[in-house]
Symmetry: C2
Subunit: 364 residues, 2 copies
């Protein structure tokens, strides 16, 4: 039928890339013949470990929004397709956090769980990232924690979560759902989550704000597609670029919204926008993030270095004769845009496979 047809076409497109880049063309034809038979019999096919690993790396290379792609070929791939239960997935995720955190020397890592059976629901991790802070709406209307996690925090409660201690930085439990089953809740062990308390190299008062952030960003709600096969649970991490924490997570008005308080502590008047108090506070918050991570031996990259690495990646891809799909509005950092070299490049975008794709939140 046409589903199998499509699967075979996608398999062919990816396998030809895989053989071209990794194996040379010799094995391609017999492999495609086997895949063809398998798809005709089962509607899908089982990828070899090396096929899958390269597919995950190329998915990263192809993702238009990621500025960190220079390192695409060094992604550590954990083949977890044999794992059968939510409990085992939970254990594998804890292990992912442990090996990827690596005491602060962060390793780019992906854990790939069993693929979606065509026409059936796939395994889902409900959390957008493995480590995220809860957001609690107070009776007085104010919000404690991360406003973007308010909904998931509420969903977790309805699934039986008792809630955390009520700080602005309570780590959410994991919610894992196997196909055709109810979602299950799991608390992450505290000792596996590396966090960095934020201090500022010049402002002693900064420490008293009691801010911190977790070391490891593991995106856990995207679908990895390789050769027509969908991995709906395939959490991956790199290391942070400083602005993700300092500009967006802690700075955005709709997130922790910390610029007004930092500006005030800096002694800036916050009445007139044209005195650029937001810009000044933004820079110092980002200085705090970068220096605190560095001080604690946790890998992080500043947006200038990341942008330069991306320009390097751009040259690599050009030399390899590949197009570089890039979404300018995501590649240019959210602060000091025109100071980074990527601002001045008119990137073209397109959607290549393999890739990572957003999925609908499962509770919606």
């Amino acid at each position: 039928d046409s589903e199998r047809q499509r699967m075979f076409m996608e398999a062919m497109a990816y396998l030809s890339l895989y053989y071209r880049e990794q194996e040379g063309f010799a094995g391609f034809i017999p492999r495609m013949a086997r895949i063809h038979d398998e798809i005709m019999q089962t509607g899908t096919y089982w990828q070899g470990e090396k096929e899958l690993a390269h597919g995950a790396r190329v998915a990263w290379r192809n993702n238009s929004r990621c500025i960190g792609r220079l390192h695409w070929n060094s992604l550590a791939v954990r083949d977890m397709r044999h794992v059968q239960t939510a409990e085992e997935i939970y254990e594998a995720l804890v292990e992912h956090i442990r090996v990827a955190t690596n005491g602060g020397k962060i390793r780019s890592t992906i854990s790939i769980f069993a693929p979606q059976v065509p026409g059936e629901p796939g395994i889902r991790i409900w959390n957008p990232q493995l480590i995220r802070y809860a957001g609690y709406r107070q009776p007085n209307g104010l919000l404690i924690g991360d406003p973007t996690q308010e909904e998931l925090s509420e969903v977790a409660r309805q699934l039986g979560w008792k809630g955390g201690p009520g700080t602005p930085f309570d780590v959410l439990p994991l919610i894992i759902q196997m196909p055709h089953q109810q979602p299950m809740l799991f608390e992450l062990p505290h000792d596996v989550i590396l966090e960095v308390p934020l201090t500022h190299p010049e402002y002693a008062w900064f420490e008293d704000l009691g801010l911190k952030w977790h070391a490891l960003p593991v995106i856990s709600n995207m679908r990895l597609e390789v050769g027509g096969v969908s991995y709906t649970a395939a959490p991956f991490n790199g290391w942070y670029m400083g602005t993700e924490i300092g500009a967006r997570n802690l700075g955005d008005v709709e997130r922790y919204n910390l610029l007004p308080i930092i500006a005030e502590k800096m002694g800036l008047k916050t009445r007139l926008d044209r005195e650029l108090w937001k810009d000044r506070a933004l820079v110092e918050l980002n200085v705090a993030v970068l220096s605190s991570f560095t001080q604690h031996g946790v890998t992080i990259i500043d947006h200038h270095t990341a942008a330069r690495q991306f320009i390097h990646h751009q040259r690599n891809e050009e030399e390899a004769g590949r197009v570089l799909p890039a979404d300018w509005s995501w590649i240019v950092p959210p602060m000091s845009g025109s100071v980074t070299p990527v601002f001045h490049v008119p990137y073209k975008d397109c959607t290549l496979a393999p890739n990572f794709f957003p999925q609908q939140d499962p509770w919606k």
Copy 2:
């Protein structure tokens, strides 16, 4: 023929907008009948003063790249279509600068010269802006002034310009070309060009850098198209948004590249990108620009206020039932992007007429 056909269709599209927005539908049919006759006889048509003025305002309103569009309806339109010679154009441009500068209280103004005759070259002002600083390549390879003006400075020399005194801020002569004629050079009178010396509210040494910038940004190389008619010389100005000077003109590596020297004077170490010395210097340079302009009574807007005004404009346009074409990468300011509300809006872009369009540099 098909040229006249196209002209008539464009005229109809614009005039129907003009009558809808300005006059009510009563006069539309007889006006279109007259335009039809005129196009059939001459290949083009002469727009009424009010038709032209509204067209210029709508061209501004339609330009996807401009963050200043809240004020579109208050554009002052100078109808200069009767002007016949390069000398008279020069005089009109000097007068434009004078009335638009208005002693510092800048008035958004456009001067519209005679339209292009279809199939013939149009009047051209070779300068990208009426006021721009020359760029001189030194024998030692270094560049004095504005690197983006190096080529035009050289072109001016070949047309007989003697060159300025050799400072980094020598105002370029105007180069005006009438259809089928040679381009002509005109020096702008010094007293008409308002400039702002840059100081910093806290750093006394800033003044000693000897920086300044001109008060008035008059874009002079774009084509205004209204109702199918092309005005190839129609220079327009608003007031500056601070980042245009502080982030781009003075900050870009390919422009005045001042961040390293400012950072050094601020006592910052400039060895490590992750200490964000560029970001800190960028903010202070922009503080200097905004405060110096304000101090000298010259209209300027900071990027926070401009972004807020644009959100206001967005609401206005929605209420008016119009689409808002916007190019996100131009609307989001080049510094502190995510701190401004426009960063968080996924703008859609499209090209509406009337509009301003880029033109090829005439010497190329």
